[in-house]
Structure formats: C-alpha cells, structure tokens
C-alpha cells in the first residue's frame, strides 16, 4: 500500500488543499522548501542533533510491569514521549518546522493550540531559534490549560485568545488561518497536527516519524521481534501517525487509533470524527468530520483539550477506509480511570490525551494474552491537566 500522498496531497479521496487563493502560493512555496530540506543532509543532521541534545531523544521504551500485571494480559511497553523537553511529542514537529521556517527566511512563527502543548512547543522552538511567536488559543482552553498559557508567555510568545464558536482548538485554528492570510509574507504557520492543507499532513508525519523509527529499533532490541499491537490516541493524529509510520509495511503489527468518545458516542458529545463523522472539508483538507446535514461543523467534546477537535488528519481517514489502522474510542470516564491506573501503579502522570490510548490497552490486553506485546504511545505528561482533572472529578462526584 502507498503511504505517500499524490502530487497534490491526496491520500485516496482525502487531503488536498482547500484554502483561499491568497494562501495557495505560500503552500506551494512551503512544499518546495520542505521537499528540498528533507533531502538535505545538513538540514537532517541539524534536526537530529537538536532532537538528541535539546529534546533528549531517543525517548525510552519502558516495560510497565505493574501495569501489565494489573491489566492481566499482554506485556505493555510505553513509548515515553512524555519525557521529551516540554513534556510531549509536539516538540519533534515544531523543531522541524521552525528550522524549515528559518531556512525559508521567515522571522515569525504562528501556531494554534488546544491543550497548549503545541503552543508551548512552538514558543520553545521560537525561543531557541530567536524568532517571534504568536499563539492562537480558544478561551475555553486557556481556562482548562492555565499552566501552559503561563509557560508560553514566559517563553516570549504572544497569546491571542479566541472567543468564537466553542472557543476551543477548531476556532483557534480558524483564527490562525485568518491571521496567516494577513501576514503570509513574513510568517510561517506551524500546524501542530497531521491536519490542514498539503503539505502539512505529510510534513508533520515526517517530523514525527522519529517516534516510530526509534520504537521499532527499541522493541526489536528488547524483545527480538515486532510488537503485536501499537496503540496511540488520535485527535488530529500526529503522535499516532508518527509512531504508526514505522510499522505500516508490517501487516502483522496491528495499529490502533483511539479517538475521544467524550460522554459517549450516543450522547452526541464526543470527538470521534472517524467513528461517528462523515466526509467533509475543514481547515484546508478533506477528511472525516463531525458535521450536521447542512455541512455545518459540529462541536466536539472531550475532557482532553488535545483531542477536542471535530476533524482528523486526512491520512487517518484513508487508513480507516483501507483498514490498515483500526479506530475505536474511549470515554472521558475510561480515560480518567486509566490516568489513575498509570499514576498509582507506575508513578507516571500521563496526559489525558495519552490516557485514552492506555484505556484502550486495558480493554485489549487480556484478549491478546501474556505472550503478546503492546506498545502504547505515551504522547505527553499530565501535569498540565491536574487542575482540569480535579474539577472534573469534583463535578462528577456531585452528580
């Protein structure tokens, strides 16, 4: 199966470039610069040097023995992206894009953010390379993720609160696209997920593929064989695309993407675009989307700000259709239970996003059996979520 998009960025019927004409020349320029950069040994060396010495890669692959025992089945390995500098996988991509921006002569970075992890990672890359940075963030997310807002401000980024719509990631991305149109000459738009117009979905996946490349080498070294299953959470889908990328050609490895079921798919309050959405066009690409019959985009819901998005990267839509990746969903409650499990059993506080992947592993572990191995992408750490978890638990205890 082919995993690269066609010349115009289509993965099967998905992807493409659905943007205003003003942005088309910028996207074509970006694509050309990106293609050149990834073939340039100097660029690649610089990228990987920074990932090693600054981000702290390779991130460990950790056998969670107490969690394995508690879940009573497959051996559970955690890919520790939470140990990266800034606490999540997002930094891999922002370093890559910031280096590309500098190479293209841009002086200003701009980003949207949901959980704030991508915003922090972009602000960090901007500080490292001496660039200006502007971050668009929904007001609701600013409330949910206060510590990350402070971090971005300390790093020198300007924060633009977005009030429109549900004031979450979707609206932040719309506002970032509007702002980009106005400053397209000097500004590089750093998209944080495998979403948006071509070449972002394949570019972000390429910069995140380091997760998969390392995981494959590490699991072979530790167990002498490939894992039976790799599980990752999917909002836009960048950590999943990154870790899946190294296993796509090995069909013996089952790949599982976990969407957020929020209060439950049947309640309509969820973020499962693949599980319960339909094909549509949003933020520059065609993919699965939560929308009504008139093509108006519906609000997503998830306790996890990073998964609270009504769309999904176009390549995930294609992997879903071709059945290379299985997609399923986990509710807020199940994710919080998995958060508690990992914290108590292993002393690791996972991000609420990653807790969705852990919760899915819990469901699958026993069935796969003790001889199987599962790799879970622990895409980020949960420190940013503590206030949110406390208030969620208080609210739901009362009901």
């Amino acid at each position: 199966m082919k995993h690269e998009p066609d010349a115009r960025g289509h993965f099967g019927p998905y992807g493409g470039r659905y943007v205003a004409e003003t942005l088309m020349p910028a996207l074509i320029e970006l694509e050309q610069a990106y293609r050149k950069a990834v073939k340039d040994p100097v660029f690649n060396k610089l990228f990987h040097d920074i990932l090693r010495d600054y981000v702290g890669r390779p991130s460990p692959l950790y056998l969670a023995e107490r969690l394995t025992k508690a879940y009573g089945g497959a051996r559970l390995y955690l890919k520790r992206e939470d140990l990266n500098h800034t606490g999540a996988h997002k930094i891999n991509n922002t370093i890559g894009q910031a280096l590309l921006a500098r190479r293209m002569g841009k002086t200003r970075l701009m980003a949207e953010t949901g959980a704030g992890q991508h915003g922090v990672a972009t602000a960090t890359a901007a500080a490292l390379l001496g660039m200006e940075c502007e971050v668009f963030m929904g007001e609701e997310d600013i409330r949910r993720q206060a510590p990350n807002v402070q971090r971005m401000q300390f790093l020198g980024a300007g924060i633009h609160p977005v009030h429109s719509g549900t004031a979450t990631l979707k609206d932040a991305m719309s506002e970032a696209m509007r702002a980009w149109v106005a400053r397209v000459d000097d500004t590089f738009y750093v998209i944080g997920s495998v979403a948006g117009p071509h070449p972002y979905p394949s570019m972000v996946r390429t910069f995140q593929s380091v997760i998969g490349t390392e995981t494959r080498a590490q699991i072979l070294e530790k167990t002498g064989r490939l894992p039976d299953m790799v599980i990752a959470c999917v909002g836009g889908g960048s950590n999943a695309a990154g870790i899946f990328s190294a296993f796509l050609d090995k069909t013996s490895v089952r790949l599982v993407g976990v969407e957020a079921a929020g209060f439950g798919i049947r309640t309509g309050k969820h973020a499962a675009s693949i599980g319960a959405g339909s094909i549509g066009i949003l933020h520059g690409s065609k993919s699965y989307l939560l929308q009504d019959n008139d093509g108006q985009v519906q609000n997503a819901h998830s306790v996890s700000a990073g998964l609270d998005y009504p769309g999904v990267g176009p390549q995930h839509a294609h992997w879903a259709d071709t059945a290379r990746v299985e997609y399923c969903s986990i509710t807020d409650t199940e994710a919080l239970q998995a958060f508690d499990d990992l914290t108590r059993l292993e002393g690791i506080l996972p991000a609420l996003e990653s807790s969705h992947a852990l919760a899915e592993a819990k469901k699958r572990s026993r069935k796969l059996g003790a001889r199987a191995t599962i790799v879970i992408n622990l895409s980020g750490r949960g420190d940013k979520d503590l206030d949110n978890i406390v208030s969620y638990k208080q609210k739901h205890r009362k009901h």
Partner: protein, 264 residues
C-alpha cells in the same frame, strides 16, 4: 448567454462600471434577509453575491463571521437559500452568484447543487476555499448546467499562475485587493499605497485575461469604491453592506456606492 456575461457586456458598451454586492443569506433570518436583498437590488446593485453561511468562515473578518452566526442560529440552510433565490429571480433580472465555502456545497452534493442552483436562477458559483486545483469535481457539473465558475485572484498569485487559472475561468475575475480577510482594514497600509498596489496589480492582471476584473475586500464607502472603480471593471462590497443592513442604512449605502461606481 449567461446573465453575468451579458451584464458585463452591456455595461462595457455603455462605458459603465459595475457594483457587486455581497449579503449573507439568512442574516439575521430568511425573511429579513430577503427584504434586505430586494432593497439592495432595487437601489442599484448590478450583480448579487448571495452568501451561504458556514460555521467556520476562515477567510472572513468579524462582520461576515457574525452575519453567518446569526443566519445559522436562525436555522438558514442551502435549500432555503436556493428557494429564496428562486423568489428573487421572479422579481429581478440581476445576475446572482452563490458565494460559499466548499463544505456546505460538498455536503449538499455538487451535482444536485448545480441542478438546483440553475433552477433557482443562480448564474455562477464562487467558492472561497476551493482553489483551482481542487475544483474539477465541481466544475464538471457546473459546465453541464451552464453555471459560471468565478475565479479568485489574490495579490500573492503570480502572473504565470493567474494566466493558468484564468484560462479556465468565466464571467469575471474576482481580484482580492489585500492580503487578509474580508472587512474593514487595519490602518497599517496607507490608502494611497493600497490604491497604487491595486492599480499595478490590476494592470498586470489585464495582461493575463480579457475577462472583466472585479476588485473587492476592504471597500466600505463611496470614496473607496470610486477609487477602485477607476482601475477595475467592477467593485465588490460585502462587510459594509452587512453592517449597513443591521443599522437600517442599506438602501442609503447601496445608492452611495452605485453613484460612486457608476460615476467613474
């Protein structure tokens, strides 16, 4: 002949420039919106852009964003908007363009859309976030139903690209005057500089196409419209009309703009 082409030919013969007006259909509800559109058409619009509201209008500034929100809150959808177009068509001969984001049209179904739009008396489509490269799927049924595909050209579009895009375009070219979203402009660029750039860019665009050129984005009063009409064949006003409709000054503004544009 398509009404758009015909209108531009007539105006050209008379040596006149055209006023194109945008209004969001269904803002703040379908009934009020239809009344406003009739008012605008009766007071001097040469061509109507009928805006389809969308939940995530990434190319629009605050005025049209709010108009879309009001329209959606009132329950407006494409089916009702096409029914409104059909009613307008019974009273007016003015060309009408459906102005939309891709998703509401995609969801409706491109083929069904073209058939229903044609029946309602729509003459062309302008889809903000459907660049030429993604448009083949829509252009095929448009061609069958003789709807014109209106091409947007931006200040960032190179002449080579403009030439390639305009080879397939029809009706007129919509030239976006500024880098940015729709609506009133920031003060960063002085107006004289803007007009100079616009003139330069429109002159350059003339070397790429014989189609009439309409200039829009950021034009809100008679003086600006007059200035733009000196260089372009038509002037598009959107956000300012949306705001004027809210304040009950729509007829007044349309008359002011029409006088400014037609007086060139």
């Amino acid at each position: 002949m398509n009404r758009i082409t015909q209108t531009f030919q007539t105006l050209r013969r008379q040596g006149r420039k055209a006023l194109i007006g945008y209004l969001t259909a269904g803002d703040p509800d379908l009934k009020t919106s239809e009344r406003n559109i009739r008012l605008a058409l009766a007071n001097g619009l040469d061509l109507l852009e009928l805006g389809v509201p969308f939940s995530d209008p990434t190319a629009d500034g605050p005025s049209i964003q709010s108009a879309g929100r009001r329209a959606l809150a009132s329950g407006a959808n494409l089916k009702q908007i096409l029914a409104m177009a059909a009613r307008l068509r019974r009273s007016f001969k003015t060309p009408m363009i459906l102005f939309s984001y891709a998703n509401p049209l995609f969801r409706y179904g491109y083929t069904k859309l073209c058939r229903d739009a044609k029946r309602a008396g729509i003459d062309g489509l302008l889809v903000v976030d459907l660049p030429f490269e993604e448009s083949a799927e829509l252009r095929a049924p448009m061609k069958r139903h003789r709807l014109l595909f209106i091409q947007l050209i931006a200040p960032t579009t190179s002449p080579e690209r403009a030439r390639r895009l305009l080879a397939e375009a029809d009706g007129f070219v919509y030239y976006i005057l500024v880098k940015g979203v729709t609506g009133a402009r920031t003060r960063r660029v002085p107006p004289t500089r803007r007009v100079f750039n616009a003139k330069k860019n429109i002159d350059r665009l003339r070397t790429c196409t014989d189609l009439p050129i309409a200039a829009g984005f950021g034009i809100s009063d008679g003086a600006q419209a007059h200035e733009a009409a000196r260089h372009a064949d038509a002037v598009v006003v959107g956000s300012a009309l949306v705001e004027a409709a809210r304040k009950g000054r729509l007829a007044e503004l349309v008359r002011e703009l029409a006088a400014a544009v037609h007086g060139v």
